[in-house]
């Protein structure tokens, strides 16, 4: 890591950038253009996000607030926990702990820094961490290992049993930073009394750990408050997911990103509800007018991502979708498994979903335990890909439900979990009639394959497979 980079505090840098951006929307067009001269690289992302209107502004505001919480955690007497994207943050909010989601921070980085996460990734290797591991955690983890982020109090993850590379990054971080560590462990299957009990026992151990770390008890009233907000959000997300089925889809491609933010940053918090509400208003307006959510208003094809979207860098993936007229129907990781979610009802998957029971503290903890076991990736990518409730079943049912014309895999070479079964998986999706494209790029690291090459291969796929003539 170059010395210059170490001179700046990582979270403050991100915070000031997003905070400044969130203020931009109040100003005039000219002020906006003027301000962006100082953060030229960031402008690509901002243009894209502000381009979708009000929901985009809520998104930036949400990000700014999330980052503000991080940088002010200490002065507000809050404990700080490093955690993973597939970990529901509601428990942290109910216990006044400030979560730092490593994968989300890495996405922020790729949006903001011109060189993206490269040097942070490399710093992890310099610290002794393996270079073949997943870039999604490594990106921002490098900053915390280098000591240019906020001080961390604990490390909490829920990927053991699901994704080794992910779990391993958190275990390494805890050891390297010498901080208390807690893992939720996931058995290979999802449903059934034995699995439910394990999920619940494990989650109770987590609560005990957090109580020990904070020196406070988890209060029923606080948890209920957060969960009530979450229920509202689940309803809004459900409506948005339902609207995604309309042809043309009234949802702009970047809604996937906003959806992530809702789940991973601020689930159960008010600003997130506002953002979802605004997204829904916009989607409804598009639907009423019968137009696509794409900037051009014309949907040519619909694509479903079977893993994650391509973030790297500067929202280029979403911008390309706009240009080509591709409606992105989200991906496996942007899916919500609330019992009322449209795909849950449509496919009678109630048992693989979660519901919130506010009756007592116990019932709430159980609800959160089961919800956590149904978080993105945690739910679909644990056991064999072709087992019930797993990756293939979820991908096919969602791709069909959202009338996708093709399926794309985008991930990172560090993903042992998916690359270990991707070829047989793609064979099955092909068999089911979905032309399937595998990207060899890294969603967080441009150095693996340049965006130019990634785009060229993708367009070639659309053309050769006669999806987009």
């Amino acid at each position: 890591m170059r010395r210059a980079l170490k001179e700046y505090h990582f979270d403050w840098m991100l915070h000031s950038t997003y905070d400044a951006a969130s203020r931009l929307m109040a100003g005039t067009e000219k002020e906006y253009a003027h301000a962006l001269r100082y953060i030229p690289y960031f402008s690509g992302m901002l243009d894209a996000v502000f381009g979708i209107g009000e929901p985009g502004r809520y998104f930036i505001k949400t990000c700014a607030e999330y980052l503000k919480n991080i940088v002010t955690a200490r002065e507000r007497g809050r404990k700080v926990a490093i955690t993973s994207f597939c970990f529901s943050p509601v428990i942290f909010y109910a216990m006044d702990i400030t979560p730092i989601c490593l994968e989300v921070m890495t996405v922020f980085l790729t949006f903001t820094y011109r060189r993206g996460s490269a040097e942070f990734l490399d710093f992890c290797n310099e610290a002794g961490f393996t270079e073949t591991s997943c870039s999604s955690q490594r990106g921002s983890l490098g900053a915390y290992l280098a000591g240019i982020g906020v001080d961390i109090d604990m490390v909490v993850t829920d990927t053991p049993g699901v994704c080794d590379t992910n779990a391993n990054a958190f275990a390494f971080a805890a050891e390297w930073l010498d901080r208390p560590f807690f893992q939720l462990d996931m058995p290979p299957l999802l449903k059934g009394e034995r699995y439910d009990r394990y999920h619940r026992d494990d989650y109770r151990a987590l609560v005990a750990f957090l109580e020990e770390q904070t020196g406070t008890r988890l209060e029923a009233a606080r948890l209920a408050e957060v969960l009530r907000e979450l229920q509202k959000q689940d309803e809004l997300i459900g409506e948005l997911e339902e609207m995604g089925r309309i042809v043309p889809s009234p949802l702009p491609p970047a809604f996937t990103l906003l959806n992530y933010a809702a789940r991973f940053l601020f689930a159960g918090m008010k600003p997130c509800t506002d953002m979802l509400q605004s997204m829904l208003t916009m989607a409804r307006r598009n639907a009423e007018r019968g137009v696509s959510g794409l900037a051009g208003g014309v949907e040519r094809v619909r694509g479903f991502f079977c893993y994650i979207d391509h973030y790297t860098y500067n929202m280029r993936m979403w911008r390309m979708s706009e240009e080509l007229g591709i409606s992105l129907q989200g991906n496996i990781l942007s899916r919500n498994w609330s019992i009322d979610a449209p795909h849950v009802k449509e496919n009678h998957m109630e048992e693989s979903a979660y519901s919130i029971d506010l009756t007592s503290l116990d019932s709430m903890i159980d609800s959160v335990a089961i919800m956590n076991s149904r978080m993105p990736m945690i739910k679909s990518i644990r056991g064999p890909f072709d087992a019930p409730d797993m990756w293939l079943e979820d991908t096919l049912s969602l791709a069909r439900m959202y009338s996708a014309d093709f399926v794309v895999y985008s991930g990172t070479p560090g993903c042992r979990n998916t690359w270990g079964m991707l070829k047989p998986f793609a064979r099955e999706t092909e068999k089911a009639g979905f032309p399937t494209h595998i990207m060899y790029s890294d969603a967080f690291d441009d150095r693996v394959q340049s965006w130019e090459a990634t785009r060229a291969r993708f367009e070639e796929f659309l053309k050769v497979r006669r999806i987009l003539a």
């Binding site: 002794g128 053991p160 080794d164 290979p188």
Partner: protein, 384 residues
């Protein structure tokens, strides 16, 4: 070195396996040291640890696995796909790590293309990633699920009595292996590290009663050796799965001796005992296999593993530690970095190596680094 032990290391379908099959008995293969041998033994089945030994290409492995995957399961699949494990009546996939976990998916899919390579009994056996009362409960349940599946499929009964006998037999083997380990650490060990590893690996492919006898014999013969091996640098080998005795021979060369290891094909395989006095043998198995968490797959338990290493380094008078990992092995790749940091701080020279599983080729680069490492230990190049 006993010829019979040696052959069991070099040949997958060894003489013991052949005889076992001739007697009409069953063999079940498994992929990781977290699978309890005792269950199979109690069922009259030979537990057999699946290896990738002898695969000199990975065309079949690469057809199903993606490019960024450890070469060990690829080699295993390669062998399976060519029918090399045709003698197995069952396979238990243990998700030791992500790459190994996906051997389940890939092996089954290969079976759709190549007839007869997937045995009828194909079982995904889960192991929690931490040790706590409720994880042992769950793991005990998983062992019971395995027992039930074995009983049903092979039409056998795994009685408590037979299970206790099996535990006793395997504990006996563990004691013998411990003795082997002790002899290895002597100031002048009577055998090399490559030999020691061979003896341990052979145990994963030979019926345990026969193995215990061979082991006793090996120990007796070597106890009688008048002079052991002296004057070499004493190394410890740590990291990813390795059953490659040629790799150890290369490390040892003429100047070094691997006097201890922490490998799942090696010493990790046999440390600790299953409690024989307890009320419930299944519970005892769950406790032993889960608590003995020497593999970095057990997250958050690094300190304990470091202590094991430090103890071994002291008791075996180790001069240097080789921390190796197979490419794309996230678990050892990360933990080796921590070991390097902490052991070097204690004054123990360490060298990290990344390698591929498979035939030992292109040894020049490796040899150069080993020489340099020994030169470093010797303090060569120091100008007075």
């Amino acid at each position: 070195m006993s010829v019979r032990l040696m052959r069991a290391v070099e040949t997958l379908n060894n003489e013991f396996v052949q005889r076992w099959k001739e007697e009409g008995k069953k063999i079940v293969g498994y992929t990781c040291s977290y699978a309890p041998d005792e269950i199979f033994h109690a069922a009259g089945i030979l537990p057999y640890r699946i290896r990738g030994h002898g695969a000199d290409e990975t065309t079949i492995g690469d057809t199903y696995f993606g490019p960024f995957i450890c070469s060990l399961p690829k080699c295993m699949l390669q062998l399976a796909g060519t029918g090399a494990f045709g003698f197995l009546d069952g396979v238990v996939i243990v998700p030791g790590c992500d790459s190994m976990r996906r051997l389940d998916d890939c092996w089954r899919k290969a079976g759709e293309d190549i007839a007869g390579v997937v045995p009828q009994f194909f079982f995904h056996f889960a192991v929690p990633h931490k040790f706590a009362a409720y994880t042992v409960d769950w793991f005990e349940g998983e062992i019971r699920r395995l027992i039930e599946a074995v009983e049903r499929h092979f039409d056998v009964r795994i009685t408590e009595e037979r299970l206790r006998d099996s535990i006793e037999l395997y504990n006996r083997g563990r004691s013998l292996l411990e003795e082997l380990e002790r002899m290895r650490r002597l100031p002048a060990p009577p055998f090399t590290g490559a030999e020691a590893l061979s003896v341990v690996i052979a145990g994963s492919a030979i019926p345990r009663d026969a193995y215990n006898e061979l082991l006793e014999e090996f120990i007796a013969v070597h106890r009688a050796v008048p002079r052991g091996i002296e004057g070499r640098r004493r190394l410890m080998l740590v990291g990813s799965a390795s059953d490659d005795t040629a790799f150890v021979r290369l490390i040892e060369g003429e100047r070094a001796l691997v006097v201890a290891d922490n490998l799942c094909f090696g010493a990790r395989f046999h440390n600790d005992r299953v409690d024989e006095g307890g009320r419930d043998p299944v519970r005892a198995l769950a406790e032993r296999y889960l608590r003995r968490s020497d593999c970095p797959r057990m997250y958050g338990d690094y300190r304990r593993r470091l202590e094991i290493l430090v103890d071994t380094i002291r008791s075996a008078s180790v001069d240097g530690v080789i921390l190796q990992n197979i490419r794309f092995c996230d678990l050892h790749g990360a933990e080796n970095g921590l070991f390097e940091r902490d052991l070097e701080a204690l004054g123990v020279p360490c060298m990290r190596i990344e390698r591929e599983y498979g035939p030992l080729v292109e040894t020049g680069r490796l040899k150069m680094r080993l020489d340099a490492f020994l030169e470093r230990i010797d303090g060569q190049g120091r100008t007075a």
